[in-house]
């Protein structure tokens, strides 16, 4: 079997795939939760600064990852 399946490469794809492919949506979801989840709005109807900072930190991580991927494609990384 090992002749036909490159287990090493496959393992790396699965590992990093989970980290990035499942991690980024999860990060985005945390951002959404921080911004719009239960208790996000205080008594004055505003989202507190802390929650907004957390949310935008999450979103910018995702955006940075996407831009990184575009740069990677542009650099002909594959």
């Amino acid at each position: 079997m090992s002749e036909f399946v490159e287990w090493g490469a496959l393992g790396q794809v699965v590992l990093f795939g989970l980290l990035v492919g499942a991690g980024l949506p999860a990060m985005f979801a945390l951002g959404v939760r921080s911004l719009a989840g239960p208790g996000a709005r205080g008594d004055d109807g505003q989202v507190p600064l802390v929650r907004r900072v957390v949310a935008y930190a999450c979103f910018s991580t995702v955006v940075l990852a996407v831009l990184g991927a575009v740069a990677y494609i542009a650099a002909g990384g594959h």
Partner: protein
């Protein structure tokens, strides 16, 4: 090679390669945009326009020559213009047939199958490197959806968990933006990967015909025409495939769509980075299935998925059969005339398939209609239990209410 003094034959091959590129864009739009269309994050026409532009950009972004399409799979020594032409015919015909039935199958596998078939017809079993075929094409076709299902389902599960008590309108609003971003990335990755395959084929043909020196890079007009052919194909849109992917497998909402597309983009880019290239189509389909597995209570139509997996397994042999037949016809007629006959038959067959498709057109107007499985008992049962139940309940409730008021 006999093609040295055959500029017309070369033109036919280049034209056929561009036609393949066109069907590739046409067929694979669904990979990137199906979920965005299904969840209405983008209007159908907006989605294909965005995808077409990004495919165009993607084709220009990276120019590392990818003439590797058949490398390590068929014996490079037997590649002639006739083999290339027959292989392209196999790829195009299979792409069109699977498009007709709305089955997302890999365009690269169709092309590889066509070339393998033509090589078999030209040089017998010794012309094909079987272990290369198994390791690079057949096994990855089985592995890709599994990896994507795993990543897609875990991503969806996490997203669902974190946003379980966020109001639904907020979720929809924000995740649609996320979806547009992730879908764009898949389009871009597709453009860079797949346009280059056709560029590679055309370069191969140009070299074989002595039109350019052997160490030549890809001429600019080849880059431009390939990028355009794929973008036009994408814009015209494979609505049939989009429909199957977006509506046939899983009923999607934005959160699942975003998780599925991010999973696709990550697995596609990572797999090519680690030198274990997986097909865009197989990964995208797997991710969408995964997003159904990851959502509690979601209906996954495994019977539709099963039919797809079958189609993937027969892609290489089926396209190979067409490729071999095309090569056989070429030799039977003989000489340069053979290639022209093959080309004429290809045009006729493509036109026939297009005519057939007009009988039941799928376009931007009905791409999101309710999924009605015909002659598919298993999914009818699944649907009546899972999807239509709510509708029945509402109808029943509507009928009951006035009665209660009367009492």
């Amino acid at each position: 090679m006999e093609a040295v003094t055959e500029p017309l034959l070369l033109a036919v091959v280049v034209l056929t390669a561009l036609a393949f590129d066109f069907t590739n864009g046409f067929h694979d739009t669904g990979n990137a945009m199906a979920t965005s269309i299904a969840t209405r994050a983008l209007k159908p026409k907006q989605a294909v326009l965005l995808s077409a532009s990004l495919n165009l950009v993607g084709a220009f972004l990276s120019l590392t020559v990818a003439a590797t399409i058949a490398k390590g799979i068929v014996d490079a020594g037997i590649i002639t213009l006739d083999v290339v032409l027959a292989g392209l015919v196999g790829g195009i015909v299979w792409n069109l047939v699977t498009w007709l039935f709305g089955i997302p199958s890999s365009s690269s596998h169709a092309l590889i199958g066509g070339v393998v078939g033509a090589a078999l017809a030209a040089a017998g079993t010794s012309g094909v490197l079987w272990s290369g075929l198994a390791a690079k094409v057949l096994i990855p076709a089985l592995v890709a959806p599994l990896v994507a299902i795993l990543v897609g389902s875990i991503g969806t599960r996490l997203v669902m968990h974190f946003t379980r008590d966020v109001p639904e309108d907020q979720n929809e609003r924000m995740f649609r933006w996320g979806q547009i971003g992730s879908a764009s990335l898949v389009s871009l990755a597709h453009g860079t990967n797949d346009a280059q395959k056709s560029m590679g084929i055309i370069l191969l043909a140009l070299i074989a015909a002595d039109a350019v020196p052997e160490d030549s890079g890809v001429p600019f007009w080849v880059v431009l025409s390939c990028a355009l052919a794929m973008a036009i194909g994408t814009y015209l849109g494979g609505w049939r495939v989009i429909r199957t992917l977006g509506k046939g497998l899983v009923e999607l909402e934005s959160r699942q769509g975003m998780a599925a597309e991010t999973s696709s983009a990550a697995v596609i880019l990572l797999s090519s980075h680690f030198g274990y290239s997986l097909s865009t189509t197989h990964v995208a389909t797997g991710s969408i299935l995964g997003s159904g597995v990851g959502k509690k209570g979601a209906a996954v139509r495994w019977s539709v998925a099963g039919r797809m997996f079958m189609a993937w397994l027969i892609t290489v042999p089926a396209a190979g059969l067409v490729g071999a037949a095309a090569y056989g016809l070429d030799v039977l007629v003989g000489g340069t005339a053979g290639s022209y006959v093959v080309f004429a038959v290809l045009v006729a067959v493509s036109f026939g398939i297009w005519l057939w498709s007009r009988r039941e057109p799928v376009g931007h107007h009905n791409v999101n209609d309710e999924w009605e499985p015909e002659a598919d008992n298993e999914s009818i049962v699944a649907e009546s239990v899972v999807d239509h139940d709510m509708e029945l309940l509402t109808v029943a409730a509507d009928h009951e209410q006035p009665r209660e008021e009367q009492r």
